[in-house]
């Protein structure tokens, strides 16, 4: 009876005080090794009783549960998913069993794991969006063309609907069904919900929910933004009379409020025989001077009493989406385990989606809404802290809010500033932070040797210079962490510098340094600022600091094999690596090159019954004319005989045994030097074993080298012989 891995893992989790009590989890060949936070919560007696746990002891601060070979890894996988540890981290544990990652690092790593697969989408879109949206800053007429509208649509698709991409990738990382993940992602940006980007705009909220706007707002707007000429042109002969008309236009009594659709349609003036809409200007004024809560806030769907769901989407969000999908995967897996197979197909997805939807909109969403408000209030307060300290801190932590997906709310702060003082002093801080990430990413792009990383880093840094930092942050800086931190320092320095600057307004007066619009940073921000020279200097300082720090502090992590190579005894021979040109075995999984020079003979001719019979797999023999065995393909060393005369190597499902001589095991290693050890990654042509032919002959054995695919039964189209 096969063990129920899931149940076993759940019982383990239950008896160690739950997943929250696990600091780290790893496994070896037979044991699940756990580091426990509070040993008082561990029920040892119950642990030993669990079906599948064969024994238990504590050693080196680890709680070790003996589970067994071939089983422990499955229980471990389930244990990770039960306790909520990242599925991605299990590969790390396998790859680097020695370096046990603390839990917080694993959590920090999750966004990276999720973003790496979707990089192609966001790098391309980010760069394109940066370019497309930068053009109108320098050439305003472009914004009115069909070209701009269409290119902008293409460019911002990935960002506007980012939660969908994040949800799909997260579902894969957490081991859930990616299509259910997609449904959750799509639900979060459903058009029936108010677009989250607009949640702070009175105009959008009013129009979405058809919420009447106090007519005084319109009055204020008329007073402040319309020219006398425009006021006179209003239908009815003047602003006041017109507003009274509007108030009663919807057929109701004068209630001091105006329906948003009316405002949209009716505020037009005739000028030179042409109708000119003023509603855009009016709305802009209202947005900058009034908050959404003044008109009743975002509407809810009431479920039970006052418990309801805010009708707002999650555009631009990352963390709530990841949490929602993480939760979805938990439910889905649990249901798959507990729902009878017959009804699993419709019950599990249905319940998964419904439960996830409720939890997301009722719990995760509201918690984040509160968090967002804190961040917003905190940011507003922070930049008022004197002597540039607050600005510097904001410049440093800004990219963190990008990781959290909170940065889109800053438009509210910016719009408020422009309304109050006419100068957006937030923009230089955001620009410093963003441009510093550009600098850090550029340093990585120029320094890194790995072509794949370089090909991501370069376009990502370009995109960041245009103000779209997500590709640089998620694809490079945050992933490697050090560049991210260097970027934070650059952002802080740049933001601090900004506080010492001043600019000039349109009237030539000296005012605070900042921008006159909002929503732009980086290079496209140049035409928007009131002191161009200093702004460019600011960008150079922020990115320069980040670039220099990254350049000196960050070091590319070498793959393990490359790191080992110089230290290995084979190093002196390394420059002379010769990749063999003759293949001896070919199959669907790959090609085996001739690992030792000499005469290739058929397997049946190897002077040993076991090898010749094919019990150990199909292959060839080689009568060596050289004393060096080299790797026949790129692969991993799977075993090295204690007596150094045989080596196993694996790659792409091929398991190969290279056995030097017949009965040479009896020489107990004398005359053989194996240059690799189990687990080493090797490249075709890399020397593996050096052997002494004279000694083999002297010991009375054949020196024929057996080159065998030990799992040739499982491989397709195996063809042996020199070619």
């Amino acid at each position: 009876m096969a063990l129920d891995y899931r149940k076993c893992a759940e019982q383990i989790a239950a008896n160690i005080g739950g997943g929250g009590n696990v600091i780290s989890a790893a496994h070896c060949a037979t044991r699940l090794r756990l580091v426990i936070a509070d040993n008082g919560k561990v029920n040892k007696a119950a642990l030993e009783e669990i079906d599948g746990v064969k024994g238990m002891f504590e050693s080196n601060g680890q709680l070790q549960l003996i589970i067994g070979t071939g089983t422990v890894n499955k229980v471990y996988d389930e244990f990770l998913s039960v306790t909520g540890a990242s599925a991605a981290s299990k590969d790390d544990v396998k790859a680097a069993a020695a370096s046990k990652m603390p839990w917080w690092k694993k959590i920090l790593k999750v966004p990276g794991d999720i973003f790496v697969p979707i990089l192609p989408a966001i790098v391309a879109s980010g760069l394109m969006m940066g370019l497309v949206e930068a053009i109108p800053k320098f050439w305003p007429a472009f914004a009115d063309t069909g070209w701009f509208a269409f290119l902008d649509l293409v460019a911002n698709t990935a960002f506007a609907l980012l939660p969908v991409l994040v949800a799909i990738s997260a579902a894969r990382v957490f081991g859930g069904n990616i299509f259910l993940g997609a449904v959750i992602g799509l639900m979060l940006v459903h058009p029936a919900l108010l677009n989250a980007w607009n949640a702070g705009k009175v105009s959008e909220v009013a129009q979405k929910f058809n919420e009447p706007v106090p007519i005084v707002y319109v009055q204020e707007a008329f007073d402040n933004i319309l020219t006398d000429d425009e006021k006179l042109l209003l239908p009815g002969g003047g602003a006041e009379a017109y507003l009274t008309t509007l108030d009663t236009f919807d057929g109701t009594e004068a209630d001091g409020k105006i329906n948003p659709s009316l405002l949209n349609n009716l505020v037009t003036v005739e000028r030179d025989g042409e109708k000119v809409g003023l509603s855009g200007k009016v709305w802009d004024y209202i947005n900058a001077n009034h908050t959404v809560s003044e008109i009743g806030g975002i509407k809810k769907w009431n479920l039970i009493g006052s418990l309801g769901i805010s009708q707002v989407g999650y555009q631009g969000h990352v963390i709530p989406v990841i949490l929602a999908v993480f939760f979805m995967c938990l439910i889905e897996k649990w249901l798959h385990k507990h729902v009878p197979e017959m009804i699993d197909l419709f019950v599990t997805p249905l319940v998964t989606v419904i439960v996830t939807a409720f939890v997301t909109f009722l719990v995760i969403g509201p918690i984040f809404a509160v968090l967002e408000n804190w961040v917003l209030d905190g940011a507003r307060w922070l930049i008022t802290v004197g002597h540039g300290i607050g600005a510097a801190i904001m410049g440093a932590i800004y990219p963190f809010t990008v990781v959290m997906g909170l940065h889109h709310m800053y438009n509210v702060i910016e719009a408020g500033m422009i309304a109050q003082t006419g100068v957006n002093t937030w923009m230089p801080i955001a620009s410093a932070a963003n441009f510093a990430q550009f600098g850090a990413c550029l340093a990585v792009a120029l320094k890194v040797h790995n072509q794949k990383t370089k090909s991501v880093a370069l376009p990502s840094s370009l995109s960041a210079s245009l103000g779209i930092t997500e590709p640089a942050i998620f694809g490079i800086n945050y992933r490697f962490m050090k560049p991210f931190i260097c970027g934070m320092v650059g952002g802080a320095v740049g933001a601090l510098f900004a506080t010492f600057l001043s600019g000039t307004n349109a009237a030539g007066e000296k005012v605070a340094f900042g921008a006159t619009t909002y929503g732009v940073t980086g290079i496209p921000g140049i035409p928007a600022v009131n002191n161009t020279v200093m702004y460019i200097l600011l960008l150079l300082i922020a990115s320069g600091v980040a670039f220099a720090l990254t350049w000196f502090i960050w070091k590319e992590e070498q793959p393990a094999a490359e790191k080992l190579a110089p230290a290995a005894p084979a190093a002196p021979a390394a420059p002379a690596v010769e990749v063999p040109t003759v293949s001896v075995i070919r199959c669907a999984a790959g090609t085996v090159l001739q690992p030792v020079k000499g005469n290739v003979i058929a397997r049946e001719e190897i002077p040993d019954d076991t090898f010749a019979s094919g019990v150990l797999g199909d292959g060839v023999g080689i009568q060596p004319s050289d004393d060096k065995v080299v790797a026949p393909f790129d692969g991993t060393i799977s075993s090295v005989a204690e007596s150094q005369h045989a080596v196993g190597i694996e790659s792409n499902g091929m398991e190969m045994l290279i056995h030097v001589g017949v009965d040479t095991v009896n020489m107990k290693g004398d005359g053989f030097t194996c240059l690799v050890k189990e687990g080493d990654a090797v490249k075709a042509g890399q020397p593996l074993i050096i052997f002494d032919r004279a000694k083999i002959k002297a010991a009375g054995y054949s020196d024929t080298v057996a080159v065998l695919l030990t799992n040739s039964d499982d491989l397709e189209d195996v063809d042996c012989g020199a070619k």
């Binding site: 070896c28 060949a29 037979t30 067994g68 070979t69 071939g70 040993d608 076991t610 090898f611 019990v615 150990l616 797999g617 799977s638 075993s639 090295v640 005989a641 204690e642 045989a646 196993g648 694996e650 398991e655 045994l657 056995h659 095991v665 009896n666 189990e678 057996a706 030990t710 799992n711």
Partner: protein, 85 residues
């Protein structure tokens, strides 16, 4: 699940040739066979892993047989160990 312990008497231990014949024997059965020495344990169908254990004469191995035909398989494999290893 059936287990038995066996002390290797073959002078070269479980090396290429003995390992090969052992794998061939185990392939006859549907059960999963695990060979463990001390803390290290491997799936006995994996020839390379088996050889990598470096099991020598005098070593005691613990063999675990688990699967539908574990009764017959365990008996046959134990007999095989006694006869060949």
């Amino acid at each position: 699940m059936k287990t038995f312990e066996y002390t290797i008497t073959d002078p070269v231990g479980i090396h290429a040739r003995p390992a090969g014949v052992l794998v061939k024997e185990i392939k006859k059965y549907a059960s999963t066979v695990t060979v463990a020495k001390g803390e290290k344990a491997v799936n006995a169908l994996k020839l390379m892993a088996l050889m990598g254990m470096g099991i020598k004469q005098g070593d005691t191995v613990k063999v675990t047989v688990e699967g539908a035909d574990e009764e017959t398989a365990a008996a046959a494999i134990e007999a095989f160990f006694k006869a060949n290893l």
